[in-house]
Structure formats: C-alpha cells, structure tokens
Amino acid sequence: MTFNIYDFTSFNRWIDEGLNSIMSPTWALITEMAIIGIVFLLFYAIVGLFLVYAERKVCAFMQNRVGPNRVGPYGIFQTIADFIKLLMKELVYIKDSDKLLFNIAPFIVIIASFMALSAVPFAKGLHAIDFDIGILYVIAVSSLGVVGILLAGWSSNNKYSLIGAMRSGAQIVSYELSVGLSLLTIIVLAGTMQFSEIVEMQRNGWFIFKGHIPAIIAFIVFLIASTAETNRGPFDLAEAESELTAGFHTEYSGIKFAFFFLAEYMNMFLVASIAATVFWGGWMPFHVSGWAGFNTIMDYIPPLVWYFGKTAFIIWLMMLFKWTFPRLRIDQLLTLEWKYLLPINLVNILFMAFLVLMHWHF
C-alpha cells in the first residue's frame, strides 16, 4: 500500500478495508466515524486558532505593526494562550435572560459551521461527505447559523444585543440569497452540484477562467455576499463596536463568547474554501490546456497545497476588506444587496445560461 499525497482515495479504501478486516462492519463504521470526528475536531480547532492568529498578524502588517510576537516564535502560540484564558474565565449569567436559549445559541452557531465544513473537499478523496447536492447542502446548513445569532441577541435581555441580532438577522438572510445565486451561476456552467465533480470538471481550466465575464462577476458578488454573510467587516454591523458595544454577544463571556468568535472565523474559512473550490478549482492544480510540460510541473505540487493556497488567498482578500473599509450603515447594506447585488446576480445567471446555451465558455 503506497501512500499518495496526490490521491487520497486509495488511502481511504485502505483504512476502510483494514478496519473491516479486523472488526465487524458496524464497529468498523463506528471506528471510522470516530476517526473522522476526531480528525475534523482537531482540524476545526487548529484552523480556528490559526485563523485568529493570522488575522492578527495580517492586520498588524497592514497597519505597520508587528502583531503578537512574544508568545512563542513570532507569537504563534498567542491564540492558544487566548484559548486557555477564555476557557478559564467565568461564565456570567444575566438576570431575566432565557438561560436555555442563552446556552443553546453557541451550540447552534458552532454546529452549523461544523456541519457545513463536512462537505468541503480538501484533496482528491479527502472529504467526509460527498453529496450530489453538495453546494445546496452547504447553503442549507450554514443558513441555520443565523438562528443562533437571533437567539443569542434575544435571550441576553440587553438592548444592544437585540438591535445587533435584528441587524445581523436581516443582513445574513439577505446576503444568503446572493451567495446562493452566485454559486448557481457556476452550477449552470458546471451542470452539477457535487463538489468532487465540480473540481474534476476544472481539470483543464478553473471555472473563473472558463466562464470568463459572468464567472468573474459571480465571484465578486460571492466574495462580497459571503463577507457579509459571515458578519465580517465592512459588514460587521451586528457587532459594530462604535455603535452597539459588542452587538449580539455583548453579554457573552469566556468560552461562550469564544465560540461566536470561532464560528465567525470558521465561517470565513468555509466560504473561502467554497469560493476556492467552486471558482478556483479547489485542489486542482493550475492547468493550461496544451502546455503539457507546464501542466505536469503543476501536478507535482500536492493538491493540499493548492487547496490551502487558494483558500488562504481568499481569506487574505477578506481580511483586506475588513481592515480597509469603513462600515456600512444598515440601510446601505440592505440597499447594496437588494438593489445592486441581487439584480446583477439574476441578470448574470441568465447571461451565464445564455453562454452555456451558445457554448461560448471555454
């Protein structure tokens, strides 16, 4: 059994067969699940911690600072220290708050982002679930997260939280449409929703190149809309510091607050991976049809590198947004979605459909 970093299918089969040969199928399944669960949990934690650290470093560099650098080399353990601190912090309960909902809210937020992550393909054969409805599944699951935010805002019994929750509720549901529609544009081009197929179809050219103008428009719209959907700046009205102190999680302390924090970053990671997968070919190397030599060189770069490279780039873009722009006002935010992004998106889908009809795509 050779282990191949370019194709994990055989690796999976190897594990599967190995487990099945030493135990009953039920137990094999359970063990497999346990392995997947632990792996994803670790992955989730590591990505979360790393993203928080990365954001701090990136914004520091944009602002001519150095950022955390005193805990470990280059401060890489900074977020671990934060995590330990937060874990050891008292949880405050507010009088007259609805304790049940107050506690459920972080669960919903985290579970939604965690479940959505399960459909992301990291490399060939390296994904937990490969639905035929992949994209729709991700949209469906991540649309649950907003419930957590609404519950958090309402159950805190705090005016700021309530305003923040209402704002982010309206914002997230609005931008969900644009996220869905911009992905639809690519689905029209691809003719499938399954992530593995989508990636496979980009073997000889990523969709953003294949679908040229409409795909680029869709990508930009997706980037804007998904930034808004994850409640990140410049769309961070829900926690607009200068207006609502900390928005919907004003009353959350310690680890509960950390979960909202974490969910924000995980959602960012999620949308970045979706964007990378759908528009930029996921783990697929950069290929130019006809340049065989070039393509083989590109093939030598492992898919995981490609995948994380693209994701990191998109995350960097989103950070650049956050650290450059002032925040929008709520009415401008909704105007942007309903009067600009949505109509553009609808026309863009038709445009793409037309393109597909005429076979004008590459």
């Binding site: 944009m62 001519n64 450059t324």
Partner: protein, 159 residues
Amino acid sequence: MNSFFRYFSDIFHGVKSLLIGMSVTGRYFFSPGQIVTQQYPENRKNLQMFERFKGEVIMLHDINNQHRCNGCGICENNCPNGSIEIISARITGEDGKSKRIIDKHIYHLGMCTFCGLCVKNCPSNALGFGNEFEHAVFDRSKLNKVLNQPGSSIIKGVE
C-alpha cells in the same frame, strides 16, 4: 434613462474607490520595511529617551553624594498639586549659628504632573528631571520617594 446610467457609473466609481483604498493597505502589507514598531522590552538596552524627557523629578547629586538643596521650600510652594513636601531640620553649623537644612525632600511620584515648575523655580538648581519611566508598582506607597539620598549633604557654598 439618466438614472439608469447613474446606476452603472455609481457601481464603477464605487468599485474603483474601493480598489484604491485596498491598494493602500495592500501596499503596506507587502512592505514590512515600513513597520514603525519599537519593541519595548527587547530594545530596553538601547532605548534612549530624549534628554529633556520628564520621567520623574530627581535631586541632582554629585559623586560625593552631595546635593544643592537648602530646604528653602520654594519648590513646595510652586508645585501646583502638592507633590512635594519639604521636611527641614535645624542644625547648628560650624559657626555656631543654627540654620535650616533639608531633612527629607519628599516627592509623591504618584501625583506629579511634570509641569516643571519646581525645577524651574528652584533657586539653587537642586532639582532636575530623570529619564526613568519604569515606575509601575504593586503598592501605591512605593511611589512616595525621598529625593535627597540617604546620607547626602548639601554642597558647600550653595546656601
């Protein structure tokens, strides 16, 4: 029709201005040479305060542990917020006359606003500003200092 075109030109200008903004932060991101951060505790050795920096009021002592303060109390009177207390003593000098000398020149660092009036108005230039700034303590009483060092005496001929 006009508003229709405005719709698109708005989008265009908006996107353009956003890109310009992003170019600024992006440029700084890629030029780490522009980082201005001073790494304080690490650079402690070569961290040089400006010579006039007002970190704390000190009494100037020479190598013989002698200072110029005669306990006249002018600084105490000039201090706008009572950061200085003079406790003077009377001694009998060699010539037999009793004269006033400084016993304790008490300085409340925790109250001083570094206005410089005491230094400026001291008739015998006994005071000055020190460059020390690392004053943080756990116990507030540590901030009350006696400026004339133990065992110090006044330079001859100043009074």
